[in-house]
């Protein structure tokens, strides 16, 4: 590079300086936005979670979120954005445990279906169910969200774990641990059965083991 650089050719230092300034401004903007929105975002997520839990456990006005670690021990969590499996325990005004809300996921027709369901320790049954994430075919697979007949399955679904929770063909439900499928949305209905079965098998023993702690609310 012996030749004199053309006049309009700025030095590298100047370029770096410019880029540095721009990056600085950009970084400032991003960080300040991030800081400003941190609280509302967390609040939003918590509100949604609270609403969902309240919906699945009617009458629950106090909630505790537990995190579950690898060996099945519980820790009380403050926020909802910690990774790993979680339990949401709901208590009535008198502090009595109504039930526990659990999460499950399994592959449906188009993509993974995520859902939450509530478990009553007393009844050893599932007493509520809500889909939280769904990309199934509108008008067909998404009936698992809206179909009242399907949702009626979860008023009291036996989860004593003596029998596998399973989805059966539409109109042939005979036992309390069976889920009556929606005709025309068999795959999505089955995914629901599987996601509950899988999650229940994993989490309910943990709940039972820690029953006293959960009931005590600490």
């Amino acid at each position: 590079m012996n030749q004199a650089a053309p006049q309009n050719m700025p030095s590298s230092a100047k370029l770096i300086q410019l880029m540095g300034t721009v990056s600085l401004v950009c970084g400032l903007l991003i960080v300040s936005t991030h800081q400003a929105t941190l609280a509302p975002i967390r609040a939003n997520q918590e509100t949604i979670m609270r609403q969902t839990v309240a919906e699945l456990l009617p009458g629950a006005n106090k909630q505790i979120t537990y995190g579950v670690d690898g060996s099945g021990n519980l820790t009380v969590l403050q926020g909802v954005d910690a990774p790993g499996p979680k339990l949401f325990a709901g208590y009535d005004a008198s502090g009595k445990l109504i039930g526990v809300v659990l999460e499950g996921a399994d592959r449906g027709y188009a993509d993974v279906i995520r859902a939450m369901y509530s478990y009553s320790l007393e009844k050893q049954a599932i007493i509520g169910f809500k889909v939280t994430e769904l990309k199934e075919t509108p008008g067909l697979g998404d009936k698992i969200v809206t179909d009242p007949k399907f949702l009626a399955n979860f008023k009291e679904l036996d989860a004593s774990l003596k029998n596998r929770i399973v989805t059966v063909k539409s109109g042939t439900k005979k036992n309390k641990w069976e889920i009556d499928a929606i005709s025309g949305a068999t795959i999505s209905s089955r995914a629901v059965g599987r996601l509950i079965d899988k999650s229940a098998k994993e989490m309910i023993p943990i709940i039972q083991r820690n029953r006293q702690r959960i009931e005590g609310g600490n």
């Binding site: 970084g27 991003i30 991030h34 592959r107 449906g108 027709y109 795959i187």
Partner: protein
């Protein structure tokens, strides 16, 4: 961690949730570069290459970001990574295979604004894919992009010999064909899934 098997991820990103036909990523090059098979094929190959490299880089970067609790810089770092990957790939190809470089021509720099590349990086992060899963996902989705692009290019070459009504010529017809292809690809839904 995401539990999906590698095979399911590959099938899903290649056919079921094809980037172009069902996720709507990379539509601009899909419409713009699909009028000749030759160019479409070259574009496709370069995209596969760039997506693979940038996916690997993005995976590493994301680990760093999480480590430093700087997730808010994700978008900005990813786009920088992609822009530099394209540059690097361009230089690399220029050095190692000038013939390929000439063949790819202007398509390489164009890839920077191909949202499929950024899409792969963002999706793999959002879905918590492991390294192997990320690579398979990048491979599947970029091949899916190329597949759609090449099919469309050959159909369009054929349509050059047809008497398309004037009103339908151009983008509208491409979109119509894409819509029909998307309908046809719906047949793959549910494959590799719960069954």
């Amino acid at each position: 961690m995401n539990e999906s098997s590698l095979g399911a991820i590959f099938l899903d990103s290649l056919l079921i949730n094809n980037f172009v036909l069902s996720v709507f990523l990379g539509i601009c090059p899909f419409i713009g570069v699909s009028n000749k098979f030759e160019t479409a094929w070259r574009m496709g190959v370069s995209v596969i290459f760039v997506i693979l490299v940038s996916s690997v880089l993005a995976f590493g970067t994301n680990l760093l970001l999480i480590n430093f609790h700087a997730e808010y810089l994700r978008i900005i770092t990813y786009i920088v990574i992609i822009a530099s990957t394209v540059q690097l790939v361009e230089m690399f190809i220029k050095k190692t295979s000038p013939a390929l470089f000439r063949a790819l021509g202007i398509y390489l720099p164009l890839i920077t604004t191909n949202c499929a590349v950024l899409g792969v990086a963002l999706f793999q992060t959002a879905r918590n894919y492991s390294f192997a899963q990320s690579v398979v996902f990048a491979l599947g989705s970029s091949m899916g992009f190329t597949l759609a692009l090449v099919i469309m290019a050959i159909i369009r070459e054929r349509l050059e010999l047809s008497d398309i009504p004037g009103t339908a010529k151009g983008t509208a017809l491409v979109l119509m064909i894409a819509g029909t292809l998307s309908l046809a690809f719906m047949g793959f839904a549910g494959m590799g899934g719960g069954g």
